[in-house]
């Protein structure tokens, strides 16, 4: 295992309601950048990023889709042959969580059988400050438990992220990467238990500097 393995290409598709932050997650992952007013994705965008997990290098071919309802009929074109999917919702928008459920169903029914799906609740930064405080005026509208239980029900990876602060973003892609079939099962299991803790400290192990080299 001394020689670096050639990068395994992994086709990954992002699905989720409009403005939940799909493009922002990708932008964070690919360029470690964030834009306050990102234009909506028209149709789909395509980006690539390499990512090293252990001794494996994965080349993500990322298909970032448009979130608005009416673009949904285009989606099959993009999730065709995808090995991995991020189903993203906004933890401050309950409707986006309903939509996420729908996408999970759609993927289970229509996408390739062994697709690895991660459920991602984004915009964690918006609720960070009042986390632990009273529920009443919290911006959070989808509890972490709801997310977890959907993930458990449907056998998905689960993360809460912030594209803005970059909280947990890389972990999503590492998590997916470890779960992709060729990875050893123990590794995948470890990864999963690690992330489902919920809050994962970014400084611990995951370095998110660097633009060109993959941060993972």
């Amino acid at each position: 295992m001394s020689l670096p393995n050639p990068a395994t290409p992994v086709k990954l598709v992002l699905l989720g309601e409009a403005a939940v932050g799909k493009s922002s997650l990708v932008l964070r992952f690919v360029s470690n950048d964030f834009q306050e007013n990102k234009e909506p994705t028209i149709g789909a965008a395509f980006l690539t990023q390499k990512c090293t997990i252990g001794d494996r290098t994965i080349k993500y071919e990322i298909w970032d889709t448009a979130g608005q309802e009416r673009f949904a009929s285009l989606a099959p074109m993009y999730y065709r042959n995808a090995q991995a999917a991020l189903v993203v919702y906004d933890i401050t928008k309950p409707a986006s969580f309903i939509k996420a459920r729908h996408w999970v169903k759609e993927l289970h029914e229509q996408a390739s059988k062994d697709i690895t799906i991660a459920l991602v609740g984004n915009k964690y930064d918006l609720v960070e400050s009042d986390e632990g405080g009273e529920e009443e005026d919290s911006l959070r509208k989808v509890s972490i438990e709801e997310g977890k239980s959907l993930a458990a029900e449907e056998n998905l990876l689960f993360f809460e992220t912030s594209a803005k602060t970059s909280y947990n973003v890389n972990d999503v892609f590492i998590g997916i990467g470890s779960k992709i079939p060729s990875a050893s099962s123990t590794e995948a299991a470890n990864q999963q238990s690690h992330v489902s803790e919920g809050r994962v400290d970014l400084s611990g192990g995951v370095n998110n500097r660097g633009q060109d080299a993959c941060p993972c």
Binding site: A18, A19, E36, N37, K38, E39, P40, T41, I42, G43, A44, A45, F46, L47, T48, E61, W63, A66, G67, Q68, E69, R70, F71, A72, S73, L74, P76, M77, Y78, A95, I98, K99, H102, K105, E106, E109, Q110
Partner: protein
């Protein structure tokens, strides 16, 4: 919820779009095609047309002596007179069309050589010129002092007719003329001329315009030589007229192609695409729409809110509330104006771009024309047009660049990922704004083919590079780089300075509009026609899948749901398309038609079925009453229409397999107040509806399973008799003959028996229902009284003024006391609703008697069992003759009855009857025992027996003192 609604709408919209599109190829009328070609508002019709030569002269308005020159010019106006020296040497020849609001001319040889669309309101004066005998000439003067002379070619009466029609149209249009003055005040061209004192119109104020006026226009005005362009336009406006009366000459096209000057851009856009005419015709509509819908919420509004800050965020105006507000208003107004489209992402970018150059009102109308006419289906709920045009684009690439196409398919590169945003956002999200605007200039002038021509040119110019790529990533990267370097030299290494000066963007335009000029409207439409059906199929499959997945859980199979879905939309479509409504809600009429297709007991008139009723109307009012009840009950949102999900849930309940549940569901239909009570009126309606529902059996057009069983028995008896006569063995296989002769009288007897059962079922139902109905006010009192007390129940039933009610247990009891009605709820009714009946199948409810008997024979197994049973019992148990039956073969009947008993017990059992019901059965006793039908019907005593048991128990109990008795039975 909004999500499902959107999906529901989708299917219908798709269908409508397809119909629309089909029409545009096949059935578009001459007038419709004419309107499209000249960008006239829909509804204009050609009133008259003629061949004509035209002479154009502009009466120069001199700053000081305006009025003077006007009168002089007119006096001098003679065809071919000297004063026309500055006219074109060769007079344009072409066709002149008259519509209610326009006078349209196009050059016969080349439309671009000379064409105009004069709004009749701009015509100030029309004079008949004294001419030589062979010409008939009319001189018209426009508000912009353009003098256009028409020399009508043709026979004189025709010319006179045209002149007459023109006069009539002008008169009819007079009320519109008042709109002109205020409209002129909104046009920058008028302001420009007025300010330079070369117009008779006075426009003092700068007309409302785009955000660019305040926040600066994108790009460098000096680089784009905005001033020079403005000067050229100034000259053109003076000589060729402007806005509503402009004459388009080759200069006009040239000036559009070199890029419009900032201040005139918005006006020329709306002129080119024809949205100006809509704005003129509907001066208050924009503000009214906003006003009327103020404060209303909608899905589109939510979606718009999400994107307001995400629309050209780099342009300063959209970092200020003013820009955001305008964007919000225009997008929202459009979403109200055309709810079928609502809001689609990419529209935010397009409108943000329009608003830089246009006022809100201008942008609003321009958006309307864009979405509804130029690129219909691009932004609609299914995005049908977008998907179709992407496919068309792919086949155009394949056709024009086969090698590259082969490469693209070989490496499975998704071309449309790249190209879809080009089309949908009119290149605004792909290339620097200044370049996208240049393309849009041409787009509004030439239509959607522009988008294809540019897209093909982009691929072509990058072809060599693209051939080297093997994955989507690099493919996309190459094009991204290309767009970012459009301002650079196309030939940086050329020794020729002129060559070096050509930018990539210029090269792109030349390639697009020269090389790909063959890709015209016709070519595109041909490709569209080729792919239309596939695209439609894909969309409908997707929509259907999604919608079916989101339906509430029911007992229906996927196949059944799929059929319900198809039938639902076939109804909704056929009813709403004709009404030009895009909703996917089912109204009552469509519901009626739906039910009549799947229910044995519901019959609606077909088209042209009868003079009495129009299609979809029911043949009798009682039907309406029951269906209306179902419909209202299923209409969960109280909107006078039901959704697919309402329908599925409703049908699921209507066909519930469980007897008790079925009765409860039926009861609920009449329980308006939801308090578990049905009043007198309700009972009456219920009885009537039951009578209606049971029509097919009551009229013996269908047989229920009691009759079927009886027939089987008769047949079996006959076979046994035959066998006995032949003296054949009782062992061995029983072969059911394919045909058996049953005495016609016997048949008729069985039929009559059924008819009678239903009639008696109906009459006993109402009788008992009232008998056991409880007085409304005396509820408490009644609880303490035995309901077997005939005095009270009779009083209640007989006194029409005493309010009474029945509750669910009573209803159940009344139903269960009658075998036929019990069977109705356990089987007959639910099996008369064929939810999974294929759409195209046509079967008639009314079958003839012969068929019904033969049908039973066809299922020989059942009859064979019956025969076997008879043979067996006859052999082993011949001595057992029970004397209470007049049947010829009582032994076998008895054994059959036993079988039946077991069967019945398995099926419904006494289990489902709760204590309350049992108690209520007490009173049924007398009725049951004296029920004539019951005694006549063979084999019916089995299921009665279980009630008898309950009755016996109850009867025994009723002999004990009333109080104790009641406490035990009335216990909840």
């Amino acid at each position: 919820m909004a999500f499902f609604e959107a999906l529901r709408d989708r299917a219908v919209n798709t269908i409508n779009q397809v119909l629309d599109n089909k029409k545009s190829d096949l059935g578009l009328s001459k007038d419709e095609r004419f309107c499209r070609e000249y960008n006239l508002p829909d509804g204009e019709v050609i009133l008259d047309e003629t061949a004509a030569e035209i002479g154009i002269k502009h009466e120069r308005v001199q700053p000081q002596a305006q009025s003077q020159s006007q009168s002089q010019a007119h006096g001098n106006n003679r065809p071919h007179s000297n004063s026309s020296a500055n006219q074109l040497d060769i007079l344009p020849q072409g066709r002149l069309y008259l519509t209610p609001h326009f006078l349209v001319f196009r050059d016969a040889f080349d439309r671009k050589a000379c064409s105009f669309t004069l709004h009749l309101s701009t015509i100030k004066k029309v004079e008949r010129l004294p001419t030589r005998s062979y010409v008939y000439a009319l001189s018209t003067t426009t508000h912009s002092r353009l003098i256009i002379t028409f020399y009508l070619v043709g026979v004189r009466p025709e010319s006179e007719k045209f002149a007459h029609n023109l006069k009539l149209s002008l008169r009819a249009n007079l009320p519109n003329v008042s709109k002109l003055q205020p409209f002129i005040q909104t046009l920058y061209s008028e302001y420009l001329l007025s300010k330079n004192n070369v117009s008779l119109e006075k426009v003092e104020e700068v007309p409302p315009g785009g955000l660019g006026l305040k926040f600066k226009f994108p790009g460098n005005a000096k680089d784009s030589r905005d001033k020079s362009k403005m000067k050229l336009w100034f000259d053109l406006l003076r000589t060729d007229g402007r806005n509503l009366s402009v004459i388009k000459t080759p200069m006009f096209y040239r000036l559009v192609r070199v890029g419009l000057p900032n201040r005139l851009r918005g006006e020329i856009w709306e002129l080119c695409c024809g949205s100006m005419y809509y704005r003129l015709d509907n001066p208050d509509e924009y503000s009214k729409i906003l006003q009327v819908n103020e404060g209303k919420q909608s899905l589109a509004k939510e979606e718009i809110e999400k994107d307001l800050n995400r629309s050209l965020p780099e342009y300063v105006a959209y970092q200020s509330p003013e820009g955001i507000e305008r964007l919000r208003r225009v997008l929202t107004a459009y979403s109200w104006k055309n709810p079928d489209v609502g809001y689609c992402q990419a529209m935010n970018i397009v409108v943000a771009a329009l608003l830089i150059y246009m006022s809100e009102e201008q942008a609003f109308w321009c958006l309307n024309v864009l979405c509804d006419r130029i690129v219909p289906g691009y932004y609609s709920k299914t995005m049908y047009g977008t998907l179709l045009d992407q496919r068309v684009f792919e086949s155009l690439v394949q056709e024009t660049m086969p090698i590259l196409w082969e490469h693209i398919t070989k490496y499975d590169i998704q071309l449309s990922v790249v190209s879809l945003p080009w089309f949908l956002s009119l290149y605004l999200s792909s290339m620097p704004l200044v370049f996208a605007f240049r393309i849009i200039d041409v787009f509004f002038l030439q239509g959607p083919k522009t988008l294809f021509q540019v897209a093909l040119a982009i691929i072509k110019l990058n072809g060599e590079e693209l051939l080297k790529t093997e994955d989507d990533g690099t493919f996309i990267q190459i094009l991204k780089n290309y767009f970012q370097t459009l301002d650079q030299s196309a030939h940086p290494n050329s020794p020729n300075e002129k060559y070096r000066a050509i930018t990539k963007f210029q090269e792109l335009l030349v390639t697009a509009f020269k090389e790909f000029s063959v890709i015209d409207e016709d070519a595109i439409n041909k490709h569209r026609a080729k792919h239309r059906d596939t695209i439609f199929q894909n969309i409908s499959t997707f929509v259907k899948r999604t919608e079916l997945r989101n339906l509430p859980k029911t007992a229906f199979t996927q196949e059944a749901l799929s059929i319900i879905y198809d039938r639902f939309y076939s109804m909704v479509e056929s009813y709403n398309v004709t009404m030009a409504s895009g909703s996917s809600l089912m109204d009552f009429k469509a519901f009626t038609k739906f039910m009549s297709e799947i229910c044995d007991w519901c019959y609606a008139y077909e088209d042209g079925d009868s003079e009495k009723g129009s299609a979809g109307e029911l043949s009798n009012p009682i039907e309406t009453s029951f269906l209306k009840r179902l419909f209202n009950h299923w209409d969960t949102e109280d909107q006078g229409a039901i959704t697919l999900s309402d329908l599925v849930v409703g049908l699921n309940r209507l066909t519930a397999p469980d007897l008790m549940e079925n009765m409860a569901n039926f009861f609920e239909l009449y329980d308006h107040k939801g308090n578990g009570k049905i009043d007198r009126e309700g009972i009456l309606q219920m009885s009537e509806d039951l009578l209606y529902i049971t029509t097919p059996w009551k009229e013996a057009s269908l047989l229920d399973s009691i009759t079927e069983r009886d027939i089987e028995q008769v047949i079996a008896d006959q076979i046994v008799k035959q066998k006995k006569q032949q003296g054949s063995d009782t062992e061995g296989e029983i072969i059911v003959p394919s045909e058996i002769d049953i005495d016609d009288n016997e048949k008729q007897r069985l039929i009559n028996q059924q008819v009678e059962r239903y009639l008696s079922g109906a009459s006993t139902f109402i009788q008992r229902a009232f008998e056991y109905a409880q007085p409304q006010e005396e509820e408490v009192l009644l609880e303490e009284l035995s309901i077997t007390d005939n005095k009270i129940s009779h009083n209640a039933a007989l006194n029409p003024n005493a309010p009474v009610y029945i509750n669910l247990p009573t209803f159940r009891m009344v139903v269960l006391a009658d075998e036929t009605y019990e069977l109705l709820f356990s089987k007959t009714f639910s099996s008369s609703i064929h939810v999974d009946k294929p759409l195209d199948s046509k079967f008639k409810t009314i079958r003839n008697l012969r068929d019904m008997f033969d049908g039973l024979l066809a299922d020989g197994r059942k009859v064979a069992t019956q025969v076997r049973r008879r043979m067996d019992s006859a052999a082993s148990n011949a001595k057992h003759n029970s004397g209470n039956n007049s049947s010829p073969d009582s032994a076998s009947l008895k054994s059959a009855k036993k079988e039946e008993e077991e069967y019945r017990d398995d099926d419904f059992g006494v289990i489902a009857i709760d204590e309350k019901d049992k108690d209520l059965l007490l009173g049924a006793e007398a009725q049951v025992l004296t029920d004539p039908v019951r005694h006549k019907t063979t084999g019916s005593s089995s299921d009665i027996s279980k009630f008898h048991k309950a009755e016996a128990e109850a009867e025994a109990a009723s002999h004990s003192p009333r109080e104790t008795n009641l406490i035990e039975f009335e216990h909840d």
